[in-house]
Each structure stands twice: as structure tokens, then as C-alpha cells.
Amino acid sequence: MFVNMTDIDFCYDKNNENILEDFELNIDKGQTLSILGESGSGKSTILRLLAGLERQKKGQIVIGNKIMNNENTFVSPENREVGMVFQDYALFPHMTVFENISFGISHLSKTKRKEKVMEILNLVDLVDHKSKYPHQLSGGQQQRTALARAIVTEPQILLLDEPFSNLDTNLKNNIRESLKEIINVIGITTIIVSHDKLDALKLADQLIVLKEGKIKQKGIPEQLISKPNTGYAESILA
């Protein structure tokens, strides 16, 4: 397994109940997994744990054969080689599109950096917008910039937290298509958190339905949608 979460317990506040309990997750290399669930079901927490933005109470996280977090080890977010697209994109407002994308590869030489950024800009179709600031971009362009920034570092896995929640319905369909294309081109292991079943149908190879930190159903999206095994899964996949 390329990504492996074993026996994870997690809560945000020590006095509160666990958000995740004895949680297990396995993903193969190159696979795209979609996590579907209501607000508060723990979807985003899974991404934050994988990115190293939170630390679990118990259990182990392995990415690409390397232990990222267990009782004795903690690899900080900057050393995990994980790309993440945030729900609100978190584009640095004081940097242009070009600067935002090159931010994560500042250790490379100027020529190499420019070359890589231009390559990614071509991939996400933003070459003409490279000198613009985030507030000068449309919602879809902002999303593609955030995606470009996340993948330019060539991460081991790509995490997308509600990537379409800030887009209107028409735009969503187009962006989904182009996102799928980009993921396929770079062949990266991807986890998408969403509450929209269409995201899973269009993008994912595997789908899990999450409720209160527990996996209620897992499988290929089309199968799950046609045969939900619980009332909850049915309501989520309806």
C-alpha cells in the first residue's frame, strides 16, 4: 500500500470526543480516492493528518514506505512531500500567480524554477495570467493556481479539500474535467474530500463514505452509488 493509516485515534481538544477512532485507510499508488461525508464526519481531518498539520493521539501513518507519524516519529509538514489544495485555496495575496507557484521550489536555480513553473502554467492553462495577483483571477483560475502550486513540487500524494466548493455549478463541471485530465497526466496518488457524489463519480477510482470518523462503505464509486449499504450511505449518495 502506498498510503497507509493504521489504528488512528484523533481529537482536536483533549476534553472532547474522538473525531477518528481506530481509523484505517489504505490507498494504492496512482489511485484517486474520494472521501464523502457530512460536515464534521472527519473528512478534512484525514487530509490534515496526512499533511502533518495535526498529530494523532494513537496509530501510524505511512506514505510511500516511510513512517510519517507514530509514537516515536513525526515528520513535519515541510518534509512530507505532500501537496495540498485548501478549501479556500490559500493563495498568498501578496504574490503573483507565478510567485505563488514558484514558492515551493525556491531551492531550485532561477532558470530551472522558471522552466518548471512555465511547464505547470501550460498544464493548467494559466500562462496568460502569470503576472496577475489572486484577487484579479476568477474562481476557476484561482483553483487551478492552487493546484499548480501544489503539484509543482512533485509531491508523493495530492490532497484536495473540497476543491469545488467555491465554484458555481457550470464552472464545476468544466473544472472537474480539467482536474481529472491533469491528475491523469501526472499520475499522482490523490485524495479528494467532498460532500458532492458527482466529484467521486467523475474523478475517483475508489470511494469511501464516512460517518462520525468511521468508514461506512468502501468501493468503486458506480457500485456504491447503485448499492448503498446503509441509510446514511444512501442519503449521502442520493
Partner: protein, 539 residues
């Protein structure tokens, strides 16, 4: 073990040591409280303590009350009504904050005494010679007037900012329910803004308890003056420590009362769409009476004292304008720039640690960082002095050189005291800056391969510039005006505008102190204006 107590990066290690350093003076005060009781203390407890408590309670209560009346009413008027120059008054009414109360006090004494402008005018033009007691401002009620007129802006500022964010619909619905403007003010505005004006009044009360200049000049015995007197005139540091502990108990009661009066009174809107209040245009006598009220307060708190200082400066500049004054100005600016910079750096380190590492330890960092502002200057001075003397003893022990006062005779002691006293101001600004930008940008940068420090300099810092700038300006203003700490802890022969102005006034050389006071006020006004400009731009 280190990881268990949160030492996972450089930021948390530095924060931990900063917090320990900040706590040290308070620890020494507490230890000193258990030293043997001296005869001086028995005398103070038996004959004087009652006066200190009585005077402090009267000053705090009435200054608080009058500050609420003036601050809240003016904040409501400039928000709800469009009257003559109301836009100017929105920031103009903050100007009295640029006049330190001790400067205000001797200006008013000079204005009202037998040779002052008012009595001279009455004698020369109307041959009126009035009873001198009518003009005696050097009393408890005089001190209440001085504190109120120069400190009410704290209440005004916070209440005004709060009311700006309130919804017009509250007032509109009250009107449709048949309520008069007076009824709306007392039944709607006053209750909803309670949290704001209680916070402002607490600042006023803490300033009153901190003050040394006004009460010393007026000859009123309070905790601050008695700590100075016991320490320097009677040479009894242990009794000074005991008085400091009593004063801290007083402060804790004030803070407890604040919490009690704010408790459970935080209202929030059930709807996110808030239409701000639109000022109602006033005409006729209502327009003029609002203008006269605001103008009178501004005149008493700023225009009259400044005009008086300008007049005194004109008649005394020949005597005072020399190289020393330039040195004093440079000292003031230098110490306030260096102090503000150090405070901001400390605030950034602690606030960033609190933001990144959320645990019980860092929660307490935040509490300790803001503690100093509630500790009066005289108490901090006692604690810092003891701490630095102990450190000097330690250095002497190591170096084998007796009589070497390396730290306690240096400017570091003063800057360290500023750090404790004003860290809260810097910390609150930095914290609000961090809250405004949230954690997403920081986290995005971390996932892109940057550590905490690189992320701070490349992402957080550029986005927080306005917050850091306001924090810097706020702290600079406070250091510039600060008196009790500077008086006690400054190195030998080191003068600031505040200490020099106070010394001249205390030596009955009021005219001579005028230029220094004017320069101090002028710099403060520039800083206050820059602050309102940055905030306006930020909005």
C-alpha cells in the same frame, strides 16, 4: 522530555525563555513579601494604608464613572448623528490621549493659579479677585477631572469602534416600535455596548492606578506615590514590596469586577448581513449643541492645554532651547524605537508559538504576555530592580569583581521593564494580525516545504505588516509618555522628554517644562494620526 513540554522548534524554545524572563520580577516580589516586617511597614499599616486605599478607590470610581459618561455619549453621537465637524471629531476626540495626564495637571495648575491666564484676565479686566479655593485644582476632585479629561478617549475609542459595527436595523426597529432617541440609547445602545465600554473603562482604571505624575504633583497619597516614597525616601525596599503586593491585589479586584460586569453579556447577530448605522443629519439647535459638547471636551482635553503650553514655550524658549534638549529628544525617540522593536519581536515570537502549538503551556503564554499591562509601573519597577540587582550579584560572584553593577545601571533594565509593561499592547496587535490572516496560508506554505521560520518571513510577515505597524506605533506612544518606570529605572544622567518635563514642573519651573511637553505631544499626535491612517487604510 523536551518534546513533551512543547520544545519542538526554535520558536517554542525562545518563547519559553521569554515567558520565564517576564515572570521573574513578579516571582521576586512574591518572595520578598515573606521577608520580615519592618517598623516602617507597621507605621504604614497603622496610619497610612487606609488613606492609600480610600484615595485610590475614590480616584478609580469617579474617573471610571465620568469616563463612561463622556466616552460612551460622544461615541454614540459621532456614530448616530451627522453634526457640524462630526467627521473630524471621530478622530479629533482621541487627541487628548497624546497629552500625558501629568503634563495636563501642571498645565491646568498654571492656568488656574493666581498668576495664571484666567485669574489675571479677571483681575485686569473686571477687577475681580476671587477666593483662591475656587481655583485649587490640586485635590482629589481636581485629579479626577484631570484623569477623566485625558483618559476618557480609551472608552470613546473602543465604544466607537464597537458601535461602527452595529446594525442599523436595531435602531430602525426600535423607531418603528415607537421609541424615542433617548429611550433607544438607554435601552438598546447602552446594554449592547456594555462589553466595549467596560473594556475601555478598565484601561482607564489601570492607567489611574499606574499613574505617578499627577498624584505626586497634587500631593495625593496613593499606592504609586507611597511605593516611591517608601523605597527612595525611607530606603525600605521590603515595605515597598508589601505595598506592591497590596496594589496588585487592588488590580486583581478591578480585573475581577471587569470580568463580572462583562460576564455573559456578549451578544452576537443571528444574521450575517449587517447594514451599518447611517448617521442622521442634524440641524438647528441640536446640531449646535452636539458640536458645542464635543468641542468643549476636545478643548479641555487638548486645545486649551496645548495653547497654554505654546504660550509658555514662547516666553521661555530662550532659557531652555539648547543642545541638551536635542539630546533629550533623541533619547526619547531612541528608547521608544528600540523598546517598541524589542517588544514587537517578543510579541511575534510568543504569538506565533501560541498559534502553531496549541496546548496548555502555550495557552498560559498568552495570559502571561498580557499580564504586564495590568501591573502598575511602580510595582514593575520594584520587581525589575530586585531581579537585576540579583543578576548583578550573580555576575559579581562569577567575575570576582565586587561593586560592579553591570546590568542594574544600564539601559537594558529600563527596556526590560518596558517589555513587561507594554508587551500586552504589542501582543494584542500581533495576535489580531495572526487571527485576521488565519492559518491556511501558513499551512499551505508548510506543505510546500517551508519551515516555521521561512514561512513566517515569506508568508506571514508580508501579510501582517499593518498589524505590526499599528502595534509598533501604539507601543511607541506608550513608551514616549511613560513616566514612573523611566523615573526609577533610567541610567544615571539619562533623561527623556517625559522625565525632564516632569522634573521641571515638580521644581516649580512650569514654563521651562512647556517646550519639552509640547515636543512630546507633537510626536504623540503624529503617531496617533499615523495609527488612525493605517487603520483606515486597512479597512
Amino acid at each position: 522530555m523536551f518534546k513533551k513540554i512543547g520544545f519542538t522548534n526554535k520558536w517554542s524554545v525562545i518563547s519559553f525563555f521569554l515567558i520565564i524572563l517576564i515572570l521573574m520580577p513578579s516571582v521576586f516580589i512574591l518572595i520578598g513579601f515573606f521577608n520580615p516586617i519592618s517598623d516602617t511597614w507597621l507605621h504604614i499599616r497603622r496610619y497610612l494604608l487606609k488613606d492609600y486605599i480610600y484615595n485610590s478607590v475614590i480616584l478609580v470610581f469617579f474617573t471610571g464613572l465620568f469616563s463612561i459618561i463622556i466616552g460612551v455619549s460622544l461615541a454614540w453621537f459621532v456614530n448616530a448623528y451627522d453634526f457640524k465637524y462630526s467627521n473630524f471629531f471621530k478622530w479629533g476626540l482621541i487627541l487628548p490621549l497624546a497629552v500625558p495626564p501629568y503634563i495636563g495637571s501642571y498645565t491646568y495648575v498654571g492656568l488656574l493659579n493666581y498668576t495664571g491666564v484666567i485669574q489675571t484676565f479677571l483681575r485686569n479686566n473686571f477687577e475681580l479677585v476671587l477666593n483662591q479655593s475656587y481655583f485649587n485644582i490640586m485635590s482629589l476632585s481636581g485629579a479626577i477631572f484631570i484623569y477623566t479629561i485625558f483618559l476618557y478617549p480609551y472608552v470613546f475609542l473602543i465604544t466607537h469602534a464597537f458601535l461602527q459595527k452595529q446594525s442599523a436595523s436595531l435602531v430602525e426597529v426600535s423607531k418603528t416600535l415607537g421609541k424615542s432617541p433617548i429611550s433607544i440609547f438607554f435601552r438598546i445602545i447602552l446594554p449592547i455596548s456594555r462589553g466595549a465600554y467596560v473594556a475601555g473603562t478598565t484601561l482607564v482604571v489601570l492607567e489611574v492606578l499606574n499613574d505617578y505624575g499627577v498624584v505626586k504633583y497634587f500631593g495625593i497619597s496613593t499606592f504609586s506615590t507611597s511605593i516611591f516614597q517608601t523605597w527612595f525616601s525611607l530606603g525600605d525596599i521590603n515595605s515597598a514590596i508589601r505595598l506592591s503586593v497590596y496594589l496588585m491585589a487592588f488590580v486583581i479586584i478591578v480585573l475581577f469586577l471587569e470580568k463580572l460586569s462583562r460576564g455573559g453579556k456578549q451578544y452576537s447577530y443571528s444574521n450575517t448581513k449587517i447594514k451599518p448605522l447611517k448617521a442622521k443629519k442634524l440641524t438647528g439647535w441640536k446640531n449646535w449643541s452636539m458640536f458645542i459638547y464635543a468641542f468643549t471636551v476636545l478643548s479641555l482635553g487638548f486645545i486649551i492645554p496645548v495653547l497654554q503650553l505654546i504660550y509658555w514655550s514662547i516666553i521661555s524658549y530662550g532659557k531652555i532651547l539648547n543642545m541638551n534638549i536635542i539630546q533629550t529628544v533623541l533619547n526619547s525617540i531612541g528608547v521608544s524605537l528600540v523598546g517598541s522593536f524589542i517588544i514587537l519581536v517578543a510579541a511575534v515570537i510568543i504569538a506565533n508559538t501560541v498559534r502553531i502549538k496549541k496546548n496548555i503551556l502555550t495557552k498560559n503564554y498568552a495570559r502571561i504576555a498580557v499580564l504586564g499591562y495590568s501591573i502598575p509601573g511602580a510595582v514593575i519597577a520594584v520587581g525589575v530592580m530586585i531581579f537585576f540587582l540579583k543578576m548583578d550579584n550573580f555576575i559579581q560572584l562569577i567575575s570576582g569583581q565586587n561593586n560592579m553593577l553591570l546590568l542594574s545601571s544600564s539601559i537594558f533594565m529600563l527596556i526590560f521593564a518596558y517589555l513587561i509593561r507594554f508587551l500586552a499592547i504589542g501582543y494584542n496587535s500581533v495576535e489580531s494580525g495572526f487571527n485576521k490572516i488565519g492559518t491556511d496560508f501558513h499551512e499551505a506554505s508548510r506543505t510546500l516545504g517551508n519551515g516555521i521560520t521561512k514561512t513566517f518571513f515569506k508568508v506571514d510577515l508580508p501579510m501582517m505588516k499593518p498589524a505590526l505597524m499599528s502595534g509598533f506605533l501604539l507601543v511607541s506612544i506608550e513608551i514616549l509618555k511613560e513616566l514612573p518606570l523611566t523615573l526609577i529605572l533610567r541610567p544615571f544622567n539619562f533623561n527623556t522628554l517625559a522625565t525632564r518635563a516632569f522634573e521641571y514642573a515638580n521644581d516649580e519651573m512650569i514654563h521651562e517644562s512647556a517646550i519639552l511637553s509640547l515636543i512630546l505631544i507633537f510626536i504623540s499626535v503624529i503617531l496617533v494620526y499615523s495609527l488612525t491612517y493605517i487603520k483606515k487604510k486597512g479597512r
